[in-house]
């Protein structure tokens, strides 16, 4: 039972991550590979503050969101000048820089040793240390994030995002501030990702830089792409599928050292198939129009 709860918590954390990435990737049309970086910033901020200063999550969560929001803002200020391939490379660069800082700035982050003994979340004397209570807490956050994003994309601002992902120059010609919209969406996405980081740090109670690598970023991006970029429901389903996939492989009886590679191979294949599918859909759409 504990094991199922554990998987459910992981699914909630990844749902927050992938849905927050979909604001950037799906709506404003920029693929970001820096998402695990913001996830890591959230986790490290809360871990360091709660271990060193004993601050409660009421303070660490806003601080984590603020910090990754500020960093995301600066990053997007630079990255927004570029398109497509360049955007991916520059976000990849940010991811590598954040990882290097987590891994190498040993005086603060303890480097590869990681930060152990992170206390569990306490709210008004109630400690979320059992798995069931933590699951309820993470479902609470998933609901908030889901609600926020689905309202955001329906708002006038969301319409600008959708318009610019279809045709940036046309949107600009309508007098919309494309750059500002991109920057705001990137910042919001970074802030939401740090929520997932906070949850993860307090849940696992031990973090080290290897949880926030470039592979993690690719994994989150794959979830979003396989989930169809925009649709929050299918992104959730894709999260469930990709998080449960390694467990399914283990269930089949695959040795664990091959299972990790097998899982990556499967999502690599899924990525290629999805891209083929996108091509098909676009052609159909064109045929209908003509």
């Amino acid at each position: 039972m504990d094991y199922i709860l554990h998987l459910a918590i992981l699914i909630s954390i990844y749902t927050i991550l992938s849905q927050s990435l979909s604001i950037v990737a799906g709506y404003s049309g920029q693929l970001s590979l820096a998402h695990a970086g913001f996830y890591g910033i959230g986790a490290y901020t809360t871990a360091l503050l709660s271990v060193n200063f004993g601050l409660s999550v009421f303070i660490t969560l806003p601080l984590a969101m603020l910090l990754s929001g500020v960093i995301a803002f600066i990053v997007s200020k630079i990255a927004v000048k570029t398109v497509d391939d360049y955007f991916i490379i520059i976000t990849l660069g940010i991811q590598v820089v954040i990882f290097s800082i987590l891994n190498n700035w040993q005086e603060v982050t303890r480097g590869p040793l990681g930060i152990p003994a992170i206390p569990s979340i306490e709210v008004f004397g109630f400690s979320f240390n059992s798995k069931l209570s933590f699951l309820l807490l993470s479902i609470f956050f998933v609901t908030i994030v889901w609600f926020l994003i689905s309202n955001l994309v329906k708002s006038p601002f969301g319409r600008i995002l959708r318009a610019l992902s279809e045709d940036e120059i046309f949107t600009k010609s309508l007098g919309k501030n494309v750059y500002q919209a991109k920057i705001i969406s990137f910042t919001i996405s970074g802030m939401l990702a740090s929520i997932a980081g906070v949850l993860y740090a307090h849940y696992i109670s031990y973090i080290d830089p290897t949880s926030f690598t470039i592979d993690e970023s690719i994994f989150i991006l794959s979830i979003v792409i396989i989930g169809g970029m925009r649709n929050l429901k299918t992104i959730f389903l894709a999260t469930v599928f990709l998080v449960l996939l390694p467990e399914a492989l283990r269930f089949v009886g695959m040795p664990s050292n091959i299972a990790a590679n097998m899982r990556q191979i499967i999502y690599g294949i899924a990525l290629i198939l999805v891209i083929f599918q996108y091509g098909n859909r676009k052609n159909k759409f064109k045929m209908k129009r003509t």
């Binding site: 630079i78 570029t82 490379i89 820089v97 091959i258 097998m262 290629i272």
Partner: protein, 292 residues
């Protein structure tokens, strides 16, 4: 110590230059960042390991077999993934994601077959290297520098003096116009793939002759090459040399004065600074034309 740093800078720059050339040729006709290029670099090393260490072939035979098989794999990727996708009018970012997918699949296949631990194709004893003004350089490193220079010269001649090279350049500057003039886009793409993968697998072999390899080795090196290519921009080739020397110098100086752990971060910080102040690199020529 200064001499040693200079030698290290020279070695890194020559590997970067080779990689940038190989990546750039593919980029000329493909027009997106092909991440599967990373796996061709890795294949160079691992096929050589397979043929020379596991199957016990002569080293030169093994190297030529490795190069041929890497080129064939890259052509298969082109034929069965990229061409069908291009027929479907996929956008740039979608092609890039597909190439990332290919990279993930092939890299994990290598991990399953060969394992994740360090492998080396050096079966011979490691020599101390030649002493040169109190700095050390090994025979392999000298080979690396010279073969890079020769290969770069040959590639330059190929691109500028042969018919196929000129076709590649024509397709890269305007695919529609060149197809109107009867230059086959497909043919140019295939040739650019052959040359690009040839250079990539050789650089993979040279890298692994000099140090050990792990399945993700290609990706790390490719990212440096991408950084160097962006810094250089798309103009004349001399900008490529400027950018690789700048990148290598910054990395080795940061390794010497701060710590070698920060080499990765240094490369990207340079990239970010460049993209902010000089978005089109040294050459100032746009890598990507505005698509209207």
């Amino acid at each position: 110590m200064t001499i040693q740093i200079l030698i290290n800078i020279l070695l890194s720059s020559s590997v970067y230059a080779l990689l940038v050339f190989s990546f750039r040729i593919k980029y000329l006709t493909l027009r997106f960042f092909d991440f599967s290029h990373a796996i061709i670099i890795t294949f160079g090393g691992y096929f050589t390991y397979l043929f020379s260490v596991l199957m016990d072939f002569n080293l030169f035979l093994a190297i030529s077999l490795a190069i041929i098989s890497s080129v064939i794999i890259s052509l298969l990727i082109l034929q069965f993934i990229y061409k069908p996708l291009q027929k479907r009018n996929t956008e740039n970012w979608q092609m890039l994601v597909a190439s990332l997918g290919i990279y993930i699949i092939l890299q994990n296949i290598i991990s399953i077959i060969f394992g994740d631990e360090n492998k080396s194709i050096r079966t011979w004893e490691i020599k101390k290297g030649y002493n040169f003004l109190n700095a050390y350089i090994t025979g392999i490193q000298i080979t690396l520098v010279f073969s890079t220079i020769i290969l770069l010269l040959l590639t330059w001649l190929f691109l500028n003096k042969t018919k196929i090279g000129k076709k590649i350049k024509a397709v890269s500057s305007n695919p529609t116009l060149s197809s109107i003039l009867g230059i086959s886009n497909d043919k140019a793409t295939i040739w650019s793939f052959i040359i690009g993968s040839f250079l990539a697998s050789i650089s993979g072999i040279l890298i692994t002759l000099d140090s050990d390899m792990i399945p993700t080795i290609g990706f790390n090196w490719l990212l440096y090459a991408v950084v160097a290519m962006i810094i250089a921009g798309m103009g004349k080739l001399r900008y490529v040399f400027m950018s690789v020397v700048l990148l290598a110098t910054a990395q080795h100086l940061s390794a010497y004065y701060i710590d070698s752990k920060w080499m990765n971060a240094t490369a990207y910080i340079i990239l970010i600074v460049f993209l902010y102040f000089k978005p089109y690199g040294f050459s100032g020529k746009k890598l990507k034309k505005a698509e209207l």
